[in-house]
Structures are given as C-alpha cells and as structure tokens.
C-alpha cells in the first residue's frame, strides 16, 4: 500500500487555544479513515490543515511524500489535488450544476470545455442527476446538492477526498442518499478522510477509525476495535455519550 497522506507531529492553535497538539496520522491508497470525536475536538481543523486552508504551527504534512507544509510549495496546486466537501454552502449559486462540476477542471486543470463537460455529465448520470445538469443549485434538495458537491470534488481525480460532516446539515431522510454515494466511492477505491458524527456509517464504511480527543489521536484502529473493544477509557465515555456503542452492525441493520 502506498502512502497518500501523512501527518507528523502536527500542531495548530488559535490564540491561546491548542486545537491540534501533535497529530500523527497515515492514510494509504484506497483507505477510508473516519475521524470521530466530540464537537470542538479539532476534526475540521485537521481537515483544513491538510487542505492548506489553515497553516500548521509545527510539524509536517506530506501528500504522496511531498512536504506540503513547506511554505515554498504552490498551495493552489496542492489544493487542486485534494477534493473537499464541507457541511454546507458548497455549491456556487450563480453557476449551473454542470458549471459547478466543471469549474476546477476547466480553470485549474485547463481541460477543454467539451472534455470537462462530457466527464461531468457521466458523473452526474451515475448519481441520477443528469436531468439537473442545467439547473441552478437552489432548485435541488439538500441531499442532491451535497451529492453534486461530492461529484464536483472528485471530478478532477484528486489524490485524496476530504469530507467534513457532509450530512450533518441535512434532513434525516436525505442523509441516506449522500451516505450511499460515499459508500460507493469508498468501494471504488477512493482514498477518503471523513469527519463524521454518523457512528453507524463510520463503522460500516471506514477501514480505520481515528478518535480525536483534546487535540491528540486518543485511539485508532479498525471499526471493530474502536467501536467493539475500545482500549481507552475516554473512547468508551465518548461512544457511550453519542450512543455509538450499540450491538454489532449485523443486528442493527434490521
């Protein structure tokens, strides 16, 4: 397995608030890593650090072996290799669905319009939204919008896909369709790091679960390990609080 992402002793603080206090993390090709942790534990900050939307205070971040925390790297070029989907406000309201999906391909990767649109339409067809290619985002449901945002993030074949609680702003009945798309991408071999509050989904889809607590990786392992037999007391407390320490997945999916 080749390494896609590695964080080494990453630190980040906002003023006197130490949010990340020495994070070590490695993500391999095709792996799906779920970041879990209480609100304010630094999940979003970690993702923003990887995407260079925040600058680290210390430590290093490597993308395919390249130190991207080095100030000499071209941040725009790095971001172009990473797909990101946030909680909400992802789509550009003044652009049609198709233009949203092709924006980076055309203006960052300099692909020709026809090429970009052809592959975008293919992706939209895969998520059943070809009919909406010319619609504007405000005509779409929240779930459809998030699926378009995900498709937009992978339209340029990034090395890595970052998902930051992509379902937490959605009505419960729309969550399923978005998670299904993530599940499909995971099955297709996309390398994904996702912050999530959906414990059942993390257990289902992730290859590895990383529990963040007070700025450090408190525990990590397979879903079975972290959810089934957590080693740390604080992991057990967190899971008990969010109700993630339920019966095994097979019984739950009835």
């Amino acid at each position: 397995m080749s390494e896609v992402l590695r964080l080494a002793a990453v630190r980040k603080s906002f003023g006197s608030r130490d949010v990340l206090r020495g994070i070590d993390l490695r993500v391999d090709e095709g792996e799906v890593v779920a970041l879990i942790g209480a609100s304010g534990s630094g999940k979003s900050t970690l993702l923003r650090v990887v995407n260079l939307l925040e600058r680290v205070d210390d430590g290093q971040v490597f993308l395919r072996g390249q130190d991207i925390s080095d100030p000499r790297v071209d941040a725009d070029a790095v971001r172009a290799r990473i797909g990101v989907v946030f909680q909400h406000f992802n789509l550009f309201p003044h652009l049609s669905v198709l233009d949203n999906v092709t924006l980076a391909a055309r203006h960052v990767h300099r692909r020709r319009r026809e090429t970009a649109e052809a592959s975008a339409l293919e992706l939209l067809a895969r998520i059943g939204l070809s009919d909406h290619a010319r619609s504007y985002p405000d005509r779409l449901s929240g779930g459809q919008q998030q699926r378009v945002a995900i498709v937009r993030a992978i339209a340029t074949d990034p090395d890595l896909l970052l998902l930051d609680e992509v379902t937490s702003a959605l009505d419960p009945e729309l969550v399923g369709e978005v998670l299904d798309l993530v599940r499909e991408l995971a099955a297709a071999g996309t390398t994904i790091v996702m912050a999530t509050h959906e414990m059942a989904f993390a257990r289902d889809v992730a290859d590895r679960v990383v529990f963040l607590d007070r700025g450090v990786v408190a525990e990590e392992g397979t879903p079975a390990e972290v959810f089934g037999t957590p080693r740390e007391q604080r992991t057990r407390e967190f899971l008990a609080r969010v109700g993630g320490l339920g019966p095994p997945p097979s019984a739950e999916r009835a």
């Binding site: 995407n51 725009d76 971001r79 406000f89 924006l103 960052v108």
Partner: protein
C-alpha cells in the same frame, strides 16, 4: 423536465374566488385612477389661476422657442450621452479595482488598502463641481499635453473620479455579502485568489448590488450635465446659449425634459430589476 401532469379543472369554489378577486382588483384600479385624475386637475387649475402664470408660461413654455432651440440642444444631448457611456465604463473598471483593493486581507496589502480607503473617503466628500473645476483647469495647467484636452474629456475624467468612489463602496458591500464559505469552497478546488474573485465572488456580488448600481447610473446621467461648467457644449450649455439668444428660458425646460426622457428607461429598468430580485427572495409571500 419532469413529465407535466394535466392540470385539473379548477373547482367551482376556486372559480368563484378568482371572480371575486378580479372584481376587487377592477374596483381598486378605478378608485386609484379617479383620485389621480382629480388631483391632477386641481393642481392644474390652481397653477393656471396664479397671477403670474401667463408670464411664466411665455418665458418657460414657449413652443416656438423650443423648436428654434431643438437642433442645438439635441446635438448637445448626444455629447451628454457619449460622456455618459465613457464615464460609466470608466467607473465600472476603476470602482471594481478600488473595491478589490479594499477587500484584500493580510498585512502585506495594508498600503494598498489604506490608499484605496483614503481615495474613497476623499472623493465621496468632495462636491462634484469642485472636482470638475480642479480637473478641468488643473490638469491642463500641468502641461502634460501641448494643447488643452477637450472639456468633455476632462469632464468625463472628473465624473469617473467622483463616481468611482461611490460605486466602489457599493461593490465592496456586495463582495462582503458573499458568504465566506464560497471563497473557501473555491480555494479548495484549487482556484487562485484572482480566479476565486473573478469566477465566484464578483459574479455573486454584482448580482446582489445591481439595483444599487443602476441607481447610481441614473444619478450620474443627471450629473453629466455639469460638464457644461467647463465649457463643453452639452445640452445644458446649448440651452444656456439659446436662452441668452432668445431672452427666454424655454431651452432649459427642453433640455430638462430630454434628460428625464433618457433617465426614464433606466429608472424603469432599475425598478423592474429590483422588483424581480425582491420577488425571487420572497417567493411565496403574499404581503
């Protein structure tokens, strides 16, 4: 896109409601029209019966003088229009640059930010007429060029200087009204700062402020008449010349009417667009 279902026939109840609404609308229109007419007639009669009306009529509303003055005033008006077009284009460019300078973040850009801020403060405070005099007589005084640039060109420059200060504030408000996560989303796609501005932020900002911009355009089209103080023979200056020749103020009234005529389509367009934006934002609201 979705297969259209056949619309069912409205029920008797709905038909009755529609009839009632139509009747009521008709009545409201009648009342409004009648009261407007009465008001206009009262104003007209009062005006005509004032003691000085006859004299005012002959010095301000003399058709013969208007016909006489028409060719010159009209020619002047074409100059106004040309100045308006160039000034509007100039204002658009300068004000967007100013607005972008003012929204740059980070300490590196402090000097540019401060300069842009100082500029807008200065020119929003200065009366246009003073800017006109300073530019109109100051710039030629510097002696850049051998001959004095035409007054209309100097006037255009003064208009651009003044109006850019106002309009840049409008653009800045629009830029700042675009949600910050739109920038984040754009940057995380790999778009550069400039591309983010051009492809994501500005298009949304411009949509938000279009009504305000059109309002400023109407204001500017009016102020174009002030370039006459520099000696450019625009509609106002032409009217002045004709007035002096005929000892009659009708040419001014004529020029004024023409200005209103130019402004009307702009004003109507602004109202229409503003209403459309409002309708979009308040879809479903009846009140």
């Amino acid at each position: 896109m979705s297969g259209a279902l056949p619309t069912p026939e409205p029920s008797g109840l709905e038909l009755e409601r529609r009839r009632f609404r139509r009747r009521q609308t008709g009545r409201s229109v009648l009342v409004a029209a009648a009261s407007t007419l009465v008001f206009a007639v009262v104003v007209w009669i009062t005006l005509v019966n004032t003691p000085g009306w006859a004299r005012v009529q002959s010095t301000f509303f003399d058709p013969a003088v208007a016909v006489e003055a028409w060719p010159r005033v009209f020619e002047g008006l074409l100059l106004n229009l040309a100045v308006l077009v160039f000034a509007a284009a100039g204002v658009l460019v300068v004000s967007i640059v100013l607005a972008i300078l003012r929204t740059l973040r980070g300490p590196v850009f402090f000097p540019l930010r401060a300069l842009a801020a100082a500029y807008t403060d200065l020119f929003r405070g200065l009366p246009l007429i003073i800017v006109l005099y300073v530019v109109g007589f100051g710039i030629p005084g510097l002696g850049f060029t051998d001959t004095r640039p035409p007054a209309a060109v100097l006037g255009t420059v003064a208009l651009i200087l003044t109006y850019s200060a106002y309009v840049s504030e409008v653009f800045r408000a629009g830029i700042e009204a675009v949600h910050p996560s739109q920038r984040l989303a754009a940057r995380s796609l790999g778009l550069s700062h400039g591309q983010t501005m051009r492809l994501v932020v500005l298009p949304q900002a411009v949509r938000k402020v279009t009504p305000a911009l059109m309002n400023d355009l109407v204001a500017m089209q009016k102020d174009v008449g002030l370039i006459s103080v520099l000696g450019a023979v625009d509609a106002v200056r032409a009217a002045q010349i004709e007035t002096a020749a005929a000892f009659n103020f009708t040419p001014y009234v004529l020029a004024g009417l023409l200005f209103v005529l130019i402004a009307l389509p702009l004003i109507r367009l602004t109202d229409w667009y503003t209403a459309r934006v409002r309708r979009r934002e308040q879809m479903g609201a009846l009140v």
